[in-house]
């Protein structure tokens, strides 16, 4: 290593070695964003440390490829998966790499028929001899020939299994089995039986292989599909088992919004030259303006009070709204949150003290899932916190406005609307259901500056973007 480094002569190593190249693909499949430049870095780093020490190799690639704690976890998983599989393939892979070399022209002439007669005969022979090692390597090579690394979706699984088996010579074996059966001899029947049993086993291992590859290469795509689905389905309908995934989604969405608005706020701060201050500051140099001072506009971060209905079906939406709001602390200031069903309490404390996921769970446990009384809750709010609502406060009320036929106390809404900068009402019910049954939505509506249907993550994102857009 003492010699001159191939620094910046990246193209030299641009074609990363085969195992690394495949691993990069696996890493991308696992959801890591590996840019071309990082790929080159990885190749150079691996050049430096070699493949011998698995631990060092893992550390090295981790340094180059995974850049957040989440990515580190994904990376670890992908690394283990990949190299565990490599170990399984082990010697087989070495054989297979040699195999195509035997008949380099073979692929040019064929489509379904690989290499030559010996190839076809070998599958049934292999099956008869029960030569598992060779079968495994044949499977691996067939898989590579049909382009297994392009697998993305679960629905493609059977297609690939079929293709791999056909590439290995499935039809011949089937024909042979049929022929043996037809001949009618007891001996032949036995052989046919044995063949089809082993073929079944081969099919199983092909399925295994495809599933593992699916895990390796197709994860990102599947994730994306699932995320898209989750973002647009009603929060109330989402299975609790998906909630962890939802939290991750909320966090990434919030992060995106936060960066966008943080930049916006700063851009607006750029003002004009403040002549008075500039002159004063440069008095020492006879007024020659070496140091300039600029007029600045103070942009207020929106102050937010969130009132969340935590009863029944609304609770799940509340959970995600709170999560969203608290993930946005960078661009919001002075967040106060309240939970209500029959009555109303402030929950800011809990939400600030604990990590948001745990806090939301606690709030729900303390208050959630009762039957709601809007009039009562509004009265509670007026008694306790009306004073703190100013003309800078945005009030977000989340609820279905179904007060179980209690007095809606719209006069309190009126007073709130007069004090607050604006009131945003988020209703998880579709618009067609507003005002039906015990819904007081239309009674509250006149006092709201904005009322939105809010039942999916996408809705939530839109509402919050609105909130920030109009804050300035």
């Amino acid at each position: 290593m003492s010699g001159p480094l191939p620094s910046f002569s990246a193209p030299l190593r641009a074609q990363a070695s085969e195992p690394l190249r495949r691993f990069l693909q696996v890493a991308r499949g696992a959801g890591l964003r590996v840019s071309a430049a990082e790929g080159i870095d990885a190749a150079r780093a691996v050049d430096l440390v070699g493949y011998d020490d698995r631990g060092v190799l893992k550390d090295t690639l981790g340094l180059v490829l995974a850049k957040t704690p989440e990515e580190k976890a994904l990376y670890d998983e992908a690394f283990e998966l990949y190299f565990q599989r490599e170990a399984l393939a082990g010697k087989a892979a070495a054989d297979v790499d040699a195999a195509p070399a035997r008949s380099p022209q073979g692929s040019a002439s064929d489509a379904a028929e690989p290499t030559d007669g010996s190839g076809r005969a070998s599958l049934s022979q292999l099956l008869e001899n029960d030569d598992r090692a060779t079968l495994a390597s044949a499977l691996e090579s067939a898989a590579r020939q049909v382009g297994i690394e392009k697998i993305r979706l679960f629905t493609q699984k059977n297609l690939y299994i079929r293709q791999i088996l056909e590439r290995m010579g499935l039809r011949e074996v089937e024909a042979q089995t049929a022929a043996l059966r037809a001949s009618g001899g007891a001996d032949d029947d036995d052989r046919a039986q044995r063949l089809s049993e082993r073929l079944e086993r081969l099919r199983d291992s092909a399925r295994d292989y495809v599933e593992r590859s699916m895990l390796l290469y197709g994860r990102a795509e599947t994730e994306q599909l699932r995320s898209r689905m989750l973002k647009s389905s009603r929060l109330a309908n989402i299975d609790p088992s998906q909630h962890e995934r939802m939290r991750v989604l909320v966090r990434t969405m919030a992060k995106r919004i936060a960066t966008r608005y943080a930049m916006k706020r700063r851009r607006r701060q750029r003002g004009q030259l403040d002549i008075r201050r500039t002159l004063r500051r440069n008095m020492g140099w006879g007024g020659v303006p070496f140091i300039t001072a600029w007029k600045q506009r103070r942009i207020e971060k929106p102050r937010v009070m969130v009132l969340c209905d935590v009863s029944g079906s609304v609770a799940w939406v509340a959970q995600f709204l709170l999560m969203f709001i608290y993930a946005l602390t960078e661009v919001l200031s002075d967040i106060r949150s309240f939970a209500y069903s029959g009555s109303l309490i402030e929950v800011s404390d809990i939400l600030e003290r604990k990590p948001i996921d745990a806090a939301v769970v606690q709030v729900m446990a303390e208050m959630g899932f009762g039957s709601s009384n809007y009039g009562n809750s509004l009265a509670d709010f007026e008694n306790g916190w009306m004073e703190q609502v100013t003309n800078k406060t945005t009030l977000i009320i989340l609820g279905d406005a179904r007060g179980n036929d209690n007095d809606p106390r719209t006069e309190i809404m009126d007073r709130l609307a007069q004090r607050a900068k604006r009131i945003i009402w988020l209703n998880p019910e579709p618009r067609s259901a507003w005002g039906t049954g015990d819904s007081d939505m239309y009674r509250y509506l006149p006092y709201c500056s904005l009322a939105r249907v809010c039942s999916t993550l996408n809705d939530l994102e839109r509402v919050i973007t609105d909130l920030l857009d109009r804050a300035h």
């Binding site: 290593m1 003492s2 620094s7 870095d41 430096l48 180059v64 850049k67 704690p69 070496f290």
Partner: protein
Amino acid sequence: MPSSQKSTPSRPIESIESVFAGLGIAGYIASRQIATAIYIAHHLQKPILVEGPAGVGKTELAKSVASWLELPLIRMQCYEGLDESKALYEWKYGKQLLYTQILREKVGSVIGDADDLATAIGKLHAFGDIFFSKSFLEPRPLLRALEQPEGAVLLIDEIDKSDQEFEAFLLELLSDYQVSIPEIGSITAVVKPIVLLTSNSTRDLGDALKRRCLHLHIGFPDEKLEARIIASRVPGIDARLLAQLVSFVQQLRSLDLKKQPSVSESIDWARVLVLLHASVLEEQVVRDTLNVLLKFESDIDAARAHITHLTQRAQQAVVVED
């Protein structure tokens, strides 16, 4: 292109083992991951972004690398509002002002007998434009790091505290080891410095920055490593006490605390215990000194309930032989 530059500091980094040993001499007990990071960073000439909880030795790592390689450590503490005039360079306004005054007085003698404006301007042009030249430049940490003849260790501390603009401004430095000064042009590093950035993840850093760096995450060390670290920092400590103390701290970290005790805290605690002439961990001593480990009242309250139990378990800890 930059092949003419030297990239080897005064001591070569030959292997991961040599990084281990070197940092060990400098008093930093590194994990394999850390040593690998320094080794790779040096050979790929890439900055390292070091993340992890406060007090696990992120800043210490930079100091130790510098002292091991006998390079100057140039440290830049980031904060909100930090801009290039504080990080990179500033013009020496006072000197420039003097220069203009001198110029005003001498301008007559320079122009002298010129008859018309064109000749006068021509004569003025003949003088080099030194107004915006290096002699009026006040180098700040980043520029200084590039100008070190022997190379340097540049520590950009708590990059997450700076603004996004500043982060973008750093990109040129991090990828090409050069900076651009509009009036002068770009200045390239004499010897590429070893750059370490630290972050406590108070905000997420941009992808562009991350892409240019190796990413090293330093977490809390495991029991064995922590014992070695403390032993190297608090030489006089009793082996039994050390084992018990480490076991206690490790258990404490598994509690639900606002701020978990970090390595720096356990070192402090070890010092306190040595000062108190403790040779074994006793419940009363733990109770009295818990505020060294935990910094929040609520955490101390939360931990108090478990002290008896934790101490008992810690007392069973066996001395780790190295």
